[in-house]
């Protein structure tokens, strides 16, 4: 492939442009922020209750699941991959950890210990599923779209089978011990929001300040060139899927105490919400370039839209999805790249 380096040089040149522009004020870079601020103003104007602390914490807490998954998804998309299975994976992890905790409740004395074991299991299961995706994609040479489309069906079907079509419910005393992980707060801020914040900071550091982050971007930008530059492409890709799996595990750990149950509708369409948050936040769907901060704002933006729609009734409920669609397209337009 002697011709490969030429397009890369061009690509590098391309990416240099927005970096230079970053020093001046580039409105496109701030598209998602502008969109979010506008939404906040509209929300407050429509219903003063929107701007209350309680409502904002409600919104941030419910964003935490999708937000944490989006951060993992951001790495996968930057590396040029995709994962469609995250919603089903969350559902299966939720079901699996509830079954495990219910089973352990008899033999392990303290409910807190049972919950700790359940949480550990969720993270390991998530990481395991992610690595399995990574192996199938890198060693098995199957398109990520197909691998994760396949597991999307597998995970949800296994959960439905485990639940016998109904719901898997956490035992009551375990539920009480586990409750604070979702409902508790620290310094007035709910626990899931703290975790979301921690994962975001860790994600940003990993992407922008480490060799791994640079490799992820290099692979997404041009896999061939990254390979020539002695980047262990397969290993890095494998790790991005593993990382996303762990993120799904963290999200599930926060999700389970909310309702204390998993059912076949758990995590339905989370994959689309997570992908939308990443793209709305300014990450290129083609890979190579992305932002963690943008992803966080994208995730918050998506849940603010439905919050505002719930707090008002000026628009027919039949049109809710249309409003969401319009806002998503408008924000994507604001942060569009110059050709």
């Amino acid at each position: 492939m002697p011709s490969a380096p030429t397009p890369t040089t061009e690509a590098r040149g391309d990416r240099a442009a927005p970096r230079k522009a970053g020093r001046r004020f580039d409105p496109h870079r701030f598209g998602p922020v502008v969109g979010l601020v506008l939404l906040l103003i509209v929300g407050t104007a429509l219903n003063p209750d929107f701007a209350t602390w309680d409502n904002l914490m409600n919104v941030l807490t419910r964003t935490a699941f999708i937000g944490i998954i989006s951060i993992g998804m951001c790495f996968v998309i930057i590396s040029g991959g995709i994962d469609l299975s995250v919603g089903s994976m969350a559902a299966l992890i939720a079901g699996g950890m509830i079954l495990l905790m219910n089973a352990l409740a008899g033999s392990v004395g303290s409910p807190v210990a049972v919950v700790m074991l359940g949480m550990l299991f969720a993270l390991l299961l998530g990481g395991g599923f992610g690595l399995a995706h990574g192996y199938l994609i890198t060693r098995g040479r199957i398109e990520p779209f197909i691998v994760t489309l396949g597991t999307l069906g597998i995970f949800r079907a296994v959960l439905t089978w485990l639940a016998d079509g109904g719901a898997i419910t956490l035992d009551n005393d375990l539920s009480d011990a586990y409750g604070p992980v979702y409902y508790g707060s620290l310094l007035g801020i709910p626990v899931p929001v703290w975790v979301f914040l921690a994962v975001s900071v860790a994600g940003a550091v990993l992407l922008n300040r480490t060799a791994f982050g640079r490799y992820v971007q290099a692979i997404g930008s041009n896999e061939q060139v990254a390979r020539f530059a002695a980047v262990d492409v397969d290993r890095v890709k494998l790790l991005t899927y593993g990382l996303l799996g762990v993120c799904v595990g963290i999200a599930t750990v926060l999700y389970v105490p909310r309702l204390g149950s998993a059912s076949p509708t758990t995590g339905l369409l989370w994959e689309l919400e997570a992908i939308a948050a990443v793209i709305v936040g300014g990450t290129s769907f083609k890979g190579g370039e992305g932002r963690i901060a943008g992803t966080v704002i994208g995730a918050v933006l998506l849940s603010v839209i439905s919050n505002i729609l719930n707090l008002t009734s000026i628009i027919s409920v039949y049109l809710n999805a249309a409003v969401q669609g319009c806002v998503i397209i408008a924000v994507a337009f604001l942060q569009r790249r110059r050709p």
Binding site: F50, T52, T160, G166, S261, P264, T266, N310, V317, N320
Partner: protein, 330 residues
């Protein structure tokens, strides 16, 4: 083993004879049904993707087990599908491969399944449609359904009576469908007669616990004084209760679900949650009733009434026992 073989032979012979008889008599008497020696009944239902359809699958298999035991000359085949196209394909297989002579079908979508069912009926399959009516009713011999109007009317009447015609209500809706519209119109229709009952708003929560939780959180932020939440589904009621618990609101006096799931009926029976006092039945057991009625009528050679609505009733502490099925997954 030999008994099975003998039985199979008899079955084939019987089916052949029955068919000849039907054709002969049908010609002479103009389609009067004839008692069949054997009945091959196909059951086509949605796969278990949430609590209610999980119940449908469980009750269908329950009917198969009980009826096949009671009637040795009855063979029931249960097929579950996860979408309308898959259901149409299964229908073809049931007719051409399994060679069913009777069908009980719970269609995914009315419009999409009308033609495939019509094709089956043209091959002399007796068709009972359950829950969702076909767009062309000539494709069905009988229609058995739960009462969606009562599903909305009963809670409305209950609330109006209990709160003496004065209450603030917020409502959850399912997924935009004709079924949901029927319930909603029946609910709001009754409450229009009470000027002091206000329906503050109704939003879709997709018959889903998580969405119900979110929508309720927002309702609680928006409205400071709510008396009753009409959750319109027991799964959604679960999410509603969690959201109320989190917000520590004490103004809400009652949460009314719907369908009569096992856990809700148990809660009413035990009186374990002061917010849950009543429910309306819309049990997935109707698939069991439909299979039983069809099979028994076909074995006798009878026909079913063209339309049969299984009544929905109000479940309270007094009668909750009759609606409690601990073995069912729903």
């Amino acid at each position: 083993m030999s008994e099975v073989a003998r039985y199979t032979r008899r079955l084939v012979l019987g089916a052949g004879l029955a068919m000849t008889a039907t054709v002969a008599l049908g010609g002479a008497l103009g389609g009067v049904a004839v008692a069949a020696d054997t009945v091959k009944l196909g059951v086509s239902i949605p796969a278990a993707t949430h609590g209610f359809t999980g119940g449908i699958v469980w009750w269908a298999n329950q009917a198969k087990a009980e009826l096949e035991k009671a009637h040795p000359n009855l063979k029931i085949t249960v097929k579950t599908a996860s979408g309308a196209p898959e259901q149409a394909n299964q229908l073809q297989d049931l007719v051409t491969v399994t060679k069913i002579d009777s069908l009980v079908i719970f269609p995914f979508e009315s419009a999409a399944l009308t033609q495939p069912v019509m094709q089956a009926k043209k091959k002399n399959v007796y068709v009972t449609v359950v829950d969702r009516g076909l767009t062309d009713t000539s494709a069905q011999d009988a229609y058995i359904a739960g009462d969606n109007t009562a599903f909305g009317r009963i809670p409305a009447e209950y609330i109006a009576k209990k709160y003496n015609g004065k209450a603030n209500i917020v409502a959850l809706r399912g997924i935009p469908t004709t079924l949901d519209n029927e319930r909603w119109e029946a609910f709001t229709g009754v409450l229009k007669q009470y000027p002091d009952i206000k329906i503050l708003d109704g939003k879709y929560a997709n018959w889903n616990r998580d969405d119900a939780f979110k929508v309720t959180q927002d309702f609680l932020t928006r409205f400071k004084d709510i008396d009753v939440v009409w959750a319109a589904d027991d799964d959604m009621a679960f999410g509603v209760l969690k959201a109320i618990e989190q917000a520590k609101r004490t103004d809400i006096k009652e949460v009314f679900g719907g369908a009569g799931s096992k856990t809700m009926v148990k809660t009413i029976l035990d009186g374990s949650n002061p917010l849950i006092r009543a429910d309306v039945s819309y049990s997935p057991k109707f698939i069991y009733d439909a299979i039983k009625m069809t099979a028994e009528a076909r074995l006798k050679g009878d026909k079913l009434p063209a339309t049969y609505i299984i009544p929905s009733s109000l479940i309270t502490k007094e009668n909750a026992k009759e609606f409690y099925f601990p073995d069912s997954p729903y």
